[in-house]
Structures are given as C-alpha cells and as structure tokens.
C-alpha cells in the first residue's frame, strides 16, 4: 500500500514539475535557514565533553583590590560575581597541593621560541601551554603516539614535551617522534607524546581568552614556570605593584593562572569548597585577600554560559530562522490546497470506485511527505555549504558541520513541515462530496 501511495504521489508530482520544483525549493530554503542557524548555535551550546563536563569545575578566588571590586563588562556577558577570572601563580600552585580533586590542572600559555634542527626549519616562536599531567585525560586530548607525562614529571619539573599533530608533521615528517629531543626556549625537551589531529570547536580549557581559537601546538609541565622563568602571554590582571625580580612576580597578586579540578561527587565539591574557603581564611590572617570571602567553583557548562560562549544574537537568529520555516510551510499549504482541489474530479472518481476517505487522506499526505523530505535533504545540502562559509568567518580553522543529532533534527523538521503544510489540504480533499464533482 505504501509503495502504491508513493507511486501515485510521484506520478502526481511529475505531472506539474514547475509547481513541484517551487514547493520543494520552498521547503529546502526553510530547512536550509533553520538548520544552518540552529547548527551554528548548537556548535557553541553543545556539551564539549559529554558525560564529563558536570565533573569539571573552574576555580576562582577574589584577591582583588579592597578599594574597588574587579570591574565588570558593559558589552559582554555580565559577571554575576565580580571577581578576577584567573588566580595568582602562588594561589594556583598552593591549591594544586589538595588531594580532594580526582584530577586537576593549572594552566596558561606563553609564547616561547622553538629550535628545530636547522635543516628542517628556522627557529620560531609559538604558543606553548603549561599544564599538569592531568590536563590530557581531563579534557579527552587524543594521542597519536606516546602519551602525556606522569605525576613524577610534574613534581620534578622534568623537561618533557607533548607536541600536536601539525608540529609533528612539520618537524618530524609525521613519523613517531616519541623519544626525540627538541629545544624550547633555553632547554632541551624530550618528546613523550604526539597528539592526534585535535580541533575542538570550543577551546573549553581556556574560555577566558579566544574560545573559538586553535589549541596550542606544544604542552610542557606547569612546574617549569619558575625554573625557566616563563611569563604568561595571555591576559593577566593586576592591581598591586611588586618587586623587580621574577620571584616577586610569581609571589604577586597578579592573576593569570587558570585552575580546573575534576570533582566526581557532590561530597567532593563540598569538601573542596571547604578547602579553598579555609585556604583563603588562612591567607586573610596573613593580610592577603582583603575583600569579602568570594570563592567560586563553577562547572564547565555554567562557566561557558557565564563567559557568553553562546552569543545571544545566535539564539535570536535561530528563532528567526525557525519562523522562516513556519512561513515556508504556511506558503506550501496554500499551494498544495490549490493543487489538490484542482484534482477534485479525479479524486471523486476514486472515491466512487471505493476508495475510503482515509485512503485519499493518506495518499495526499504521502505526497506532502515526499516533497517535505526531498526539500529537507536539499536544504541540508545547501546548509552544508553555508555552514562551511560561516565556519571560515568565525576563525580560519573552525569547521562547522552537521552532526548526527542535527541531521536527525533537520529530517524531523522537514517531516513536520511537510505534515503541517499538507494536513489541511489533504483533509479538505478527502472530505469533498464526490457526488457534486461527478455530476455533469
């Protein structure tokens, strides 16, 4: 019966190819617009680490100026708790001593010089991220060769290095370079791991800076900061002056270290909160942290929301594009109504020959769904092109594509659009009185 319906429907669609083309194009435009903008929004809004994001927390403490709270933005997202977005080096290092988190990493990036073999490349400066060994499992960083370093390397500030896929291609021709040596800044490093190609759409481990940017090409232990006298190259916030030496800088109230902790149970969260509250109280008694106690432990998804990762304008555009699809569907209703009613004599003959109202209804709805799905598929193909273009507008390396979730959603939308557009016309045609039409 279904095959029969499909055959009749195709026949009917072929009879008026121009109208069919207009109808399909209409649905395709609607689906293209709505898929494109909901997908763009989805790329920003979706969970970057499904199953895990609820256990990752970002830690902030208010070590700011007693006279003025940390300033809030007038254009970007409002910070509900005005406090510095990062920690000072001394606090970041102290908090890393806690054993409550299952995993934890302090992190920041610095531009450092890399000295490959001269016959391969001139020395060059590149962003290097300083992290602890836990960084790689915490953020599901994929390895092509080798693996991250171990806790001992963190503790002893060993000169170990993880490089990304592109750097390995460039400096080692893509071969397994684990165990090879590479000079970074003033020291020789041993490569322990090479990353597989990895380009998360949202750089979830550094939401404070350009969160649509590329991950850094190189990773070395955070504990090398002091021995190598590395200075952060990203944002830093300070209010209190400090002495001229590097140790003065590390002991200062200047904030630039990001701390992520993995807390697996609510009890751990509570214990950790207690831990940092106690830490700040103890520091207060030494004259630090002059402002009221304001510690924040924020989950990854809440942090994304607070940092305005989903730009509200994207939500507006997604809403408008859905309305556009509604208009396309309404439009189709009009066209299909005309088309079906023009077929009244033929339908009446079928009714007179024994077809039930239900048969006629299903028949016409099938025609609408064929059009709906054809338009949906065409619309998705169109939106793939548009998305590629929009991805390039966001950053040179951003790739936006339809994931399974969005393809299913788009197909579902096109079925719904086809059904909504076809429901009334199909109902009208099946309730016609055959007798009136058959009278000559």
């Amino acid at each position: 019966m279904l095959a029969y319906n499909a055959r009749i429907a195709t026949k009917s669609l072929k009879r008026n190819p121009l109208l069919t083309a207009i109808v399909i194009a209409g649905i395709a435009l609607g689906i293209c617009a709505s898929t494109t903008f909901t997908t763009v929004r989805h790329m920003f809004a979706r969970d970057p680490l499904p199953g895990k994001s609820g256990k990752l927390f970002y830690v902030r403490m208010d070590n700011w100026d007693p006279a003025n709270a940390y300033p809030t933005s007038d254009t970007g997202p409002k910070n509900p708790h005005p406090l510095p977005p990062t920690l000072s080096f001394r606090d970041g290092t102290e908090l890393l001593r806690s054993h409550i988190p299952a995993r934890q990493t302090a992190s920041y990036f610095a531009n450092l010089a890399v000295y490959p073999e001269r016959r391969i490349s001139r020395p060059y400066q590149t962003p290097v991220r300083l992290v602890t060994s836990d960084f790689f499992p915490m953020f599901d960083v994929p390895f092509e060769f080798g693996h991250g370093w171990d806790k001992r390397a963190d503790a002893n500030a060993e000169q170990v290095l993880v490089i990304d896929h592109a750097t390995n291609e460039k400096l080692f021709g893509g071969a397994n370079s684990v165990g090879k040596r590479l000079r970074v800044d003033s020291r020789d490093f041993t490569i322990v791991g090479v990353l597989a190609p990895w380009r998360p759409f949202i750089k979830m481990f550094d939401l404070m800076q350009n969160f649509v940017g590329d991950p850094e090409p190189l990773y070395i232990p955070f504990s090398l900061t002091r021995p190598m006298q590395i200075r952060n190259s990203g944002n830093s916030d300070g209010w209190k002056s400090f002495g001229p030496t590097f140790d003065d800088f590390l002991a200062s109230e200047t904030d630039w270290v990001q701390l992520w902790v993995e807390l697996r149970t609510p009890a751990d969260v509570a214990a950790y909160r207690q831990f940092i509250d106690n830490y700040v109280r103890a520091e207060k008694s030494k004259g630090r942290f002059p402002r009221p106690l304001n510690n924040q432990i924020t989950s990854l998804l809440d942090m994304m929301q607070e940092q305005g990762v989903v730009n509200p304008a994207l939500t507006s555009m997604a809403a408008m594009s859905i309305l556009f699809l509604v208009i396309c569907a309404l439009n189709l209703t009009g066209l299909l109504l005309g088309k079906f009613l023009a077929r009244a004599p033929e339908v009446s003959v079928r009714r007179a020959l024994g077809a039930t109202r239900g048969d006629i209804f299903v028949q016409h709805l099938a025609e609408c769904e064929i059009v709906g799905v054809a338009g949906g598929v065409l619309g998705m193909l169109l939106s793939l092109g548009v998305l590629r273009f929009i991805g390039k507008l966001i950053t040179a390396t951003s790739v936006i594509s339809l994931d399974l979730e969005m393809i299913v959603a788009a197909l579902f939308l096109s079925l719904v659009a086809g059904a909504i557009a076809g429901l009334y016309p199909a109902w009208r045609i099946c309730t016609l009185q055959p007798a009136v039409q058959l009278k000559v």
């Binding site: 010089a113 944002n235 002056s241 507008l393």
Partner: protein
C-alpha cells in the same frame, strides 16, 4: 464599493484568508526585528576609531636568539629597528607600541588625579614611542606630544611622561585642562601629563573604550611590536622591505605582519554574519510570501471564474473586477499587518528579554508595512488582471 460582498466572500474561505494573514503577520514580525538587528550591528561597525585603520600595519618581531634575553640588548635593537623603519618609501610613520587597534581588548589600569578627590579611574594604558600620534593619525589638541627624551630607559624607573585622550581628560579633570597635571598609579608612581589628543576609540571588555594614555617608552619585552602607517594601497609593497630591514638589524628572529584592517574584520565577524544572514532572510521572505500570495490568489481566481463571468455578464466592467481582487487582497493584507504589528512587538519582547536585541523602532515597523503593501499589490496584480480578462460568455455555459 464592494466591501460587503468582499467580506462575505472572504468569510466563506476562512482557511485561505487565515493562511495569508498568518504569513503576512509573521513576515512583518520577522522583517521588523531583522532590520533592527541589522541596523544595530551596522551602527556598531560604523563607529570610528579615529585612526587611519585602512593603512595601519602591525609588525611583530618574535626573537629566538639568546641575546634577546638581555633587556639592554632588546632596547638597543628596538631603537635600531625604529631608525631602520623610518623613511621606508611608501610608509608615513612608525611607532613602537603595545597598542593594537581593534583587537577587542588591550591593557588597562587605574589612576587618580594628583591633588584630586582620590577617585580611581580605570583607563586603557599603553606604552609608545613618540611616533604614535602620526602613526595613528590622531592630533594633539592641547599641550605637546611626548618626545624621545621623555623616555626613561632605567629598568627601575616608575614615573613616566604621558599624553592622554580627550575623553579621559574630561572624565578625570571635568572640563579643566589636564596639561601639567599628574596621575598617581596604585603603586604610587607618577605620570606627568604633557598633552591631550583626539580622538581615540578602542572597544574594550570594560566601559573604557575612549579612555587611554600613552606613556613615552619602548616596549621590548616578549618581542618588539610596531605599528606602521603606510600610504594608501602600498600595504603589500612595504611588507618585504620592512622584513628585509628588520632582519638586517638582527636576524635572530622572525617577523609577523597583520594589517589592522584584519583585526577589525575579525572583531566584527559576528556582526557581519548577523547582517548577512538577516539580509538574506528578509529578501527570501519577501520572495516566498510574494509567491505564496500569487499562488493563493491565482487559485481563488480559477475557482471563481464562473462567478466572475456572471458578474461581467451582469455588467461589471474589467476595472471593476480588477478593483475587486486588489481590494480583497488589500483587506487581507491589512488584517495580516495588524496581526504582524502585534507579533513584531511580541517577538521583540521575547528577543530582548530571552536572547539579545535592541528595542524595536516603530519606523522599521512602518517601513515593513509599506513594503508588504507594495508586495501585496504586485503579487495580486497578475492574477487579478487574469480575472479581469475572464470572458462574460462563461456565464452562459452549462455547469
């Protein structure tokens, strides 16, 4: 007039009327809000920095040679770089500075006026060599520019000589001249103000877009950065020459280039996506609803050929038929527009409260109404003309 008959005829075709009314209503709501988003973003993009954005080039020297670990070496190299970069054919001015226009941020701090009421003011703060004014193409409006001998190269120096933006002068000194006044920084260091310049606008995360000072100095930590102002259209030509000259001063480094225009493009990428997408939506919407009206009206003409023929046979003129259909459409369109005005404000309320957006401007709604009137007129014209062409003879044919 045929109001009575039209309304009675429409009320027998409620679904058809409803379809068009809904389409027009939602279209108006979307168009009015889309135009609001477009104009808000255009306004943002048209904000002027006050600089010669199109002809500014950012040059970043990224050293890898170990000599650069010495501060004094970095300073002498930067001085040599500035000499080497001065007078390149096709360039107008050069400055060593950590300021980059349109990067969506920068560096900032707090200052208070010496002898003032102690209020701390947050302001952008940058270090620059004296070439900064010519390079940005902004002008000293009071006092003087900083000079080379204002630069204190002592690594432990705390005090500096600064020029400030006019907006910062007005903020801190409230209409009095800032020239000769001093700022005190939180650590107690003193900035002596020697000049005021206009204009300055650099969007920042905090509401300090127009407040800044430039302290006379050299920026040499973490690689030297330069801004070069080139003659219009010469950007491509000067880049190789700049690289050649810098590497001649010292080749233990790589040199990166990025026109300020690219920073600006990047800064506004989101606005451009919004403007492009919303313009596309408006155009497609007008086409789609237009086609919809043509379709539904054609259908209603075909359906009523019999009645039209009868009316013609009873004496209605062709213009009368034409007028009938145009009027019918006008009534339907207006109903849709009334609904649309309500929907436009409702949608705007939702967008402003739940997402983002600016308040709807009634003029955009009015413009949308006019646009949709015209669209309705043109979309009905063809089917209505066809209706007027129906021959009265039809009335005499059998059912």
């Amino acid at each position: 007039m045929e109001f009575g008959p039209i309304v009675r005829a429409l009320s027998r075709n409620r679904m058809r009327v409803l379809l068009i009314v809904l389409q027009i209503g939602i279209t108006l709501a979307v168009i009015a809000n889309a135009v609001t988003m477009i104009t808000a973003n255009r306004a943002k993009m048209q904000k002027e920095s006050g600089f010669d954005d199109d002809n500014l080039l950012w040059v970043y020297s990224k050293p890898f040679a170990e000599q650069f670990n010495e501060r004094s070496f970095r300073v002498t190299t930067t001085q040599a770089d500035l000499r080497a970069l001065t007078g390149i054919p096709g360039t107008k001015a050069v400055a060593n500075t950590n300021f980059i226009p349109w990067q969506g941020g920068g560096s900032s701090g707090e200052v208070k006026a010496a002898g003032g009421d102690g209020t701390m003011y947050r302001t952008q703060e940058y270090v620059a060599s004296p070439g900064i004014m010519d390079t940005l193409n902004v002008h000293i409006v009071a006092g003087r520019n900083v000079r080379d001998n204002d630069i204190d190269l002592d690594p432990n120096a705390k005090n500096s000589t600064v020029i400030i933006s006019r907006a910062l002068e007005q903020l801190v000194f409230k209409g009095k001249s800032a020239v000769g006044q001093q700022f005190i920084e939180p650590d107690g260091s003193v900035d002596t103000i020697v000049g005021v310049f206009d204009k300055f606008y650099n969007p920042y995360g905090w509401p300090i877009h127009e407040y800044t000072y430039f302290a006379a100095g050299l920026v040499a930590r973490g690689g030297a950065r330069y801004l070069v102002r080139v003659e219009p259209g010469k950007m491509k030509d000067v880049i190789p020459e700049i690289e050649r000259r810098l590497l001649k001063v010292n080749d233990g480094r790589n040199v990166d280039f990025k026109p300020i225009d690219e920073f600006k493009t990047q800064y506004f990428s989101q606005s451009r996506i919004i403007i492009g997408a919303m313009t596309g939506v408006i155009i497609l919407l007008v086409i789609v609803t237009g086609l919809g009206i043509v379709g539904v009206t054609s259908f209603s003409v075909t359906e009523r050929r019999k009645q039209i023929g009868t009316r013609r046979a009873l004496g209605a003129t062709k213009p009368a038929i034409l007028r009938y259909f145009l009027l019918e459409n006008w009534i339907v369109t207006n109903t849709g527009l009334l609904l649309g005005i309500a929907l436009a404000y409702a949608l705007n309320f939702l967008l402003v409260t739940k997402a983002s957006g600016d308040k709807l401007d009634w003029r955009f709604v009015a413009a949308g109404v006019v646009l949709l009137w015209l669209q309705g007129l043109f979309a009905t014209l063809a089917p209505a003309t066809r209706a007027a062409a129906v021959s009265p003879v039809i009335a005499t044919r059998a059912v």
